[in-house]
Subunit: 401 residues, 2 copies
């Protein structure tokens, strides 16, 4: 009898985005004449930059010729891309990461989800709240029962406190989704030190690194001393280069990083992840990796920077507009997310309804990211400039009623 | 303390391909003047066909324009591709599969590896031997201890016997890798009936379906009555369209198919797999799906058929050449793999050494695919015509010594 993994039944059905979609649909039916502006989903809207498109087309041509055709590539990614990553994302920041510590993949969602496979299901897991739901759901699916939620709210300025209990695995995401906040080097060092003292592992999601504008905000957890002994870092080209539909990311597993058997024997996590990837993954398309490589050319970097600036300018427009209108606003300086306190008397969902009904603007209710997101609301900077400006004008107008 | 998944330590290090590589390297050093022909790895060599290359370049251009840019796609795949699959791979064969029963992915390796996540780790698993190592390794990684090996050898004409024990999960791959053999409809029906009687699930890997030339060999397990109640089917564009470096495949999970809780409650596996994919996967690149879609155009199908014919002709050359030279040969009629009995007095590895030393031809020792592969040897039809002909001439010459 084909018994199922019953842990799946412990998952909460995620009604968040389907509920949003349903509410929007109903509104549109009632008011077909009204233009709705969506600043809800974290998907980019700017097209792939010319240098990257050219690289894709060139790679397609190569695939069409016998002499340059490529079949199976290395599961860990082609050297040409891993070398660029080493050089530009680490060496340039004074971080020593080796090529074989980098695993190119088709997305940080997959990697942050799959990484759990190399760890014991008995581990205690710390997750900040509010949070990107993938960390939580994949741990529930794996059957981990000891999950500790660490609140990140305006009370602690979105700097989560260390857990009081000893935890084995810690998920951190900075710049943070959904709050858009960051940790300084000193604040991140507290976590690295905790992990070193407790032999915990930090799963550091750095997908929004490209949006960091301020000094003293670490772009990589490996800027913190000793982090290579305790941290796995997840990076993505999704938001950096608009690759949400191209699918390329990478994960860094330093060779210094050890996990432990029940008997306390040390095991290199790099080897375990390598084995996992070689057994269950067949590498990222050659064409996609050539596209990612093109990002690291001078021209590619310039073009991409322009897109990031565009989104950051959207973020500024949202942030400052709402602040002027009297909202309490977080994020949006080093991140494409703006996290705002809903006006007094509102819940996340009642504010959602109000914005939709009165301003025709769609955002994401904070409570959708966890209990401690209640009372907050997320807007994203990934829309077009025109829509972003119009959305904020409408929200301000509504708030003055 | 970050405890690891200790099941990983139960994995046998796969030395197969690294041992082969090492032996080839040593030989090349000793005999730099000799040309080595590799018929070992199951990777294609023919380039991507023109219609598909054009579709890729068109999609790259679309991604570069604001109006046609695509961000996140559906985790299950775009409708345009799922509709083609429904139409051409199923409806045309009289099989009723719905669009939402199809999950487009980046590879059958990933899918056959990840599918285990939705099943209980206490399930008993039946695996044919010799076998594609991913089925076994991913079950070991997941901690499944009850694994039953079902021999497929010349004694049973590579038609595995039903297990004597009750098993919960069954991996079948036909046309088979590595043996190149197939089951007739009646032979496959025996397995479907077994699964229906025992409420087991069949994980049917049909990656080599495009190479079937004979009548009465099922292209899909769903050609067998009742299979939709018991089988998940894995398909791949890797060998069909030379997509080993493009990465596209799909998995069919019919809605009739149920798994069971410990209490015997039925659960739709389609829903579980959908939840798994939505949580841990972000879909296949738009460009890749447009490439796969182009396969289903009239021109695309013609071009691809030509490639398949090319490889099948290679298979014929290998098969007939070796038969004439007195070898006992299996497969190569409905599959790109030729499975031969090593000459008397040889083991898989001693025959490997002999072929390398005396003929400069590299194949894969059968024992690398499991205990019951001992005494056999795999050659693939994926080389160039010239190399294939030369390799067989050399093997024949050597066998006459």
């Amino acid at each position: 009898m084909s018994y199922i993994n019953e842990n799946f039944l412990d998952l909460q059905e995620s009604y968040l985005f389907s509920t949003i979609a349903k509410k929007v649909e109903e509104f549109t039916k009632k008011h077909p004449e009204k233009k709705i502006i969506k600043l809800g989903i974290g998907d980019v809207t700017r097209p792939i930059v010319p240098t990257v498109v050219e690289a894709m087309k060139k790679a397609a041509d190569e695939m069409g010729k016998k002499e340059t055709f490529r079949g199976y590539g290395p599961e860990q990614g082609y050297d040409f891309l891993r070398e660029k990553i080493v050089e530009f994302d680490y060496k340039k920041r004074g971080i020593d990461i080796q090529k074989d510590e980098i695993f190119v993949s088709d997305g940080a969602k997959c990697d942050t989800g799959n990484i759990g496979e190399i760890f014991s299901t008995n581990n205690t897991v710390a997750i900040t709240d509010p949070v990107y739901p993938v960390y939580l759901d994949t741990n529930i699916m794996a059957g981990r029962k000891n999950i500790i939620y660490i609140p990140a709210t305006s009370e602690n300025k979105f700097v989560p406190d260390l857990p009081k209990e000893k935890v084995d695995m810690i998920y951190l995401c900075f710049p943070n989704n959904p709050t858009g906040t960051v940790l300084t080097k000193d604040q991140l060092k507290v976590w690295v030190d905790y992990a070193r003292n407790n032999k915990s592992v930090i799963l550091f999601d750095s997908a929004y690194e490209a949006f960091i504008t301020e000094e003293n905000v670490p772009h990589s957890i490996y800027e913190i001393e000793g982090a290579k002994e305790v941290a796995i870092e997840f990076r993505s080209f999704s938001k950096t280069a608009g690759f949400t539909g191209v699918r390329c990311a990478y994960t860094v597993v330093p060779k210094e990083l050890k996990g432990y058997t029940k008997d306390g024997k040390e095991v290199e996590l790099n080897k375990l992840w390598n084995r996992r990837q070689c057994t269950k993954f067949n590498g990222v398309p050659y064409l996609t990796q050539k596209a990612a490589e093109a990002m690291y050319t001078e021209k590619g970097m310039e073009e991409i920077k322009e897109n990031i600036q565009y989104y950051l300018e959207n973020a500024r427009i949202i942030r400052e507009g709402l602040q002027e209108a009297g909202f309490t606003v977080y994020g949006g300086v080093n991140a494409p997310y703006i996290w705002l306190k809903v006006p007094k008397g509102h819940t996340s969902w009642s504010f959602f309804d109000e914005l939709l009904e009165n301003a025709g603007v769609v955002g994401t209710p904070g409570v959708g990211f966890g209990e401690h997101g209640e009372g907050y609301f997320r807007l994203t900077a990934f829309g077009s400039r025109e829509n972003t400006i119009e959305a904020i004008q409408r929200i301000i107008l509504d708030s003055r009623k």
